[in-house]
């Protein structure tokens, strides 16, 4: 793969990885698969210990991440946004009490439904009479929870799937990858809509179905990584010593691909939050009286001519901020994995 290989071996939305491989096209040029050239060198920088150790020396990788974060202010800002947003959603309600479950009672305590910001409701009220500031915390919990859980679940499953596929190779690999191809060619929103309609959206169902569409890219990435790892000396050595396949996959391949996995998971969180927002807009998000940021936006956007701006900007800005923050962090993590980019 001549272009975009080293830099993109992590599935950032910006640079969809081994494009050539993803398209199922023949492999060209030197790449990490041949264990030579720039690709190979980069992977050593990740903290794989070529002299044959078990797991990544986590101290080295951690220090490297800290160093890259210190150099990149945007990544620090992203991290700060994420932490503040989590504090806002989980600790906020402790200090700022609002009724977010019973619209009738909420209406009594607020001025009216659809009222613009005022002394009692700093960010106004929504169409049901819920306080928007309180709802931002209430819905944010669900958005962040679904985003994080779906990304972790999807990436974990995808990583295992990819590692197994790449490790076994042959017809098992071919079959497993054709399944991924098939699912990847379904426009994901259609699949999500069908599943949400069939299973009725709740937080758990939303986590599961979003994970169901987000394990595919990590599966591909880790499979690619496994192809390069399984021919490494230390894996060969474990095999020669009689290590079981299970041990090789779980103790040697997955830990050495952990950098790629973590970076990809970061980007997946951002994408999962966007997917949930899209489902929310279509009325398939977390159902009332629960809510999420996407669902909160629905009414303001649908009735856009009414110009209820306080129903649009708070939740809208929250989504954009968090998604951009996760992308910044993901970018920095990815760069910490890649020696060549750092030297630019």
């Amino acid at each position: 793969m001549p272009a975009g290989d080293e830099r993109d071996a992590t599935g950032s939305p910006w640079s969809d990885t081994p494009l050539v491989e993803q398209a199922g096209l023949p492999f060209i040029g030197p790449g990490p698969n041949l264990g030579m050239g720039r690709g190979g060198a980069d992977h050593d920088g990740v903290g794989t210990t070529p002299e044959g150790g078990e797991v990544v020396s986590s101290g080295g990788m951690f220090l490297q991440i800290v160093r890259v974060f210190r150099e990149r202010k945007l990544a620090v800002a992203g991290l700060a946004v994420i932490v503040l947003m989590i504090l806002f959603c989980w600790l906020g309600p402790v200090f700022y009490h609002t009724n977010q479950t019973n619209a009738q009672q909420a209406l009594v305590s607020s001025t009216a439904s659809n009222s613009p910001p005022n002394a009692q409701n700093p960010l106004g009220t929504d169409n049901a009479g819920f306080d928007v500031l309180g709802r931002l915390m209430f819905g944010g919990k669900n958005s962040l929870l679904v985003g994080l859980a779906a990304a972790v679940l999807g990436t974990t499953f995808g990583a295992l799937y990819g590692a197994i596929s790449g490790f076994f190779g042959g017809w098992i690999d071919a079959l497993m990858m054709r399944i991924v191809d098939t699912l990847l060619s379904i426009p994901f929103l259609f699949l999500l809509i069908v599943l949400a309609v069939i299973f009725h959206p709740s937080v758990i169902v939303l986590i599961l179905i979003i994970a169901l569409v987000s394990w595919l890219v990590p599966a591909r990435l880790i499979r690619g990584e496994t192809l390069t790892l399984r021919v490494r000396e230390y894996v060969q050595a474990v095999r020669a010593m009689g290590g079981t396949r299970r041990r090789i996959v779980l103790r040697h391949i997955v830990p050495n691909a952990i950098g790629t996995i973590v970076v990809n998971a970061t980007f997946q969180v951002a994408d999962a939050i966007l997917l949930l927002a899209a489902l929310g807009f279509l009325g398939l998000g977390v159902q009332p009286p629960q809510t999420d940021w996407g669902t909160m936006l629905t009414y303001g956007i649908t009735d856009i001519t009414a110009n209820y701006w306080w129903q649009i900007y708070p939740a809208g800005i929250a989504i954009v901020l968090v998604v951009v923050a996760f992308n910044f962090v993901g970018d920095a993590l990815r760069d910490s994995l890649e020696v060549r980019l750092q030297q630019r």
Partner: protein
């Protein structure tokens, strides 16, 4: 080239069969199946049994799959929408061309904007323009398209009446294309995210190309900066963009659902939204299937284009 095409067609067929199987199985895991969809939630057990017997839903699953394939391929029958009392195929036939127009124009627009932006960023690398464009692409990528669409309506249709609030409502493709003022905002909305990720990718692809040996060789041979950029680097940098285009088609088609819903554009995406609202499962599965087939065809065309512009693919797979 022929060998590459044959293999690519077989690969596409495998995907199509996989998707057909998946759609068929999804129809079967619905509690109560099509009978409930058709007869409503209050149907009695005998009524459901009778419905299943008449429609052949009580036969073994593999036989049902075979019948499903047969009716689909021979009669182009995607099933029946009990909510709209119409054949799913007819409903989609009427809407699909309009969605293809929306998606087609926005994709071309995205490429026309994103490629020069990416080049500009490489030329002005690490200068203010580069930072601003990079920042913008992050923000646009992080903005849900329904939010962007809503804000565009608010700014350009409600506040200053420059464009229409809703999309063209014509019955035919001709009627839609002949109302460009109404078409601008939906196209921009759908193109925005594609532009954000394409320009970003174009930048890194171009940057990569600039570090390659052939660029150094060209420079050493005395080629001017303009020639190096547009002849040597650009041609190579465009190759991954074509692949990216093929891979982005599912995302663009997904985006069409949101865009059509925001602007009330009478295409297949809006049909899907309506089907979701009314829990019209046969119609949902029909639109999902057609959207996937369109995606498979689109990706196939992108790959053929890829082989045409990159001789290495042709020769490597002979």
């Amino acid at each position: 080239m022929i060998g590459f095409m044959v293999r690519r067609v077989i690969q596409a067929l495998v995907v199509v069969i996989g998707v057909l199987l998946l759609v068929f199985l999804l129809a079967h895991i619905i509690p109560g199946g099509f009978a409930r969809a058709a007869l409503g939630p209050r149907a009695t057990k005998p009524q459901i049994a009778q419905f299943n017997r008449i429609n052949g839903y009580n036969r073994p699953i593999p036989i049902q799959f075979w019948i499903y394939l047969k009716t689909l391929v021979w009669h182009h029958n995607l099933g029946y929408s009990y909510h709209q009392n119409q054949n799913v195929t007819n409903l989609i036939d009427e809407r699909l061309p309009k969605t293809l127009v929306l998606v087609g124009i926005s994709t071309v627009l995205a490429l026309i904007v994103a490629i020069p932006l990416g080049i500009l960023q490489v030329v002005r690398r690490n200068k203010p323009v580069d930072y601003v464009l990079t920042g913008a692409s992050f923000v646009f990528y992080g903005t849900p398209s329904f939010l962007l669409g809503g804000l565009l309506i608010l700014y350009f249709a409600v506040d200053i009446h420059l464009f229409s609030v809703s999309a063209p409502q014509g019955q035919t493709v001709g009627a839609i294309v002949s109302d460009p003022r109404a078409l601008v905002l939906p196209e921009l909305t759908l193109a925005a995210i594609t532009i954000a990720s394409f320009s970003r990718y174009m930048r890194s692809s171009m940057m990569e190309a600039m570090t390659e040996d052939y660029v150094r060789t060209a420079r050493a041979k005395g080629a001017g900066p303009r020639r190096v950029l547009f002849v040597h680097a650009l041609r190579n940098a465009l190759i991954p963009i074509v692949t990216l285009l093929g891979l982005s088609i599912p995302a663009i088609v997904s985006g069409a659902v949101i865009t059509e819903t925001v602007f009330n554009y009478p295409g297949m995406g809006l049909l899907t939204f309506q089907a979701a609202q009314t829990t019209d499962v046969p119609l949902l599965l029909g639109t999902a299937l057609v959207a996937t087939l369109a995606t498979v065809v689109g990706s196939f065309l992108a790959d053929v284009m890829y082989a045409v512009i990159d001789p290495r693919i042709r020769y490597a797979s002979r």
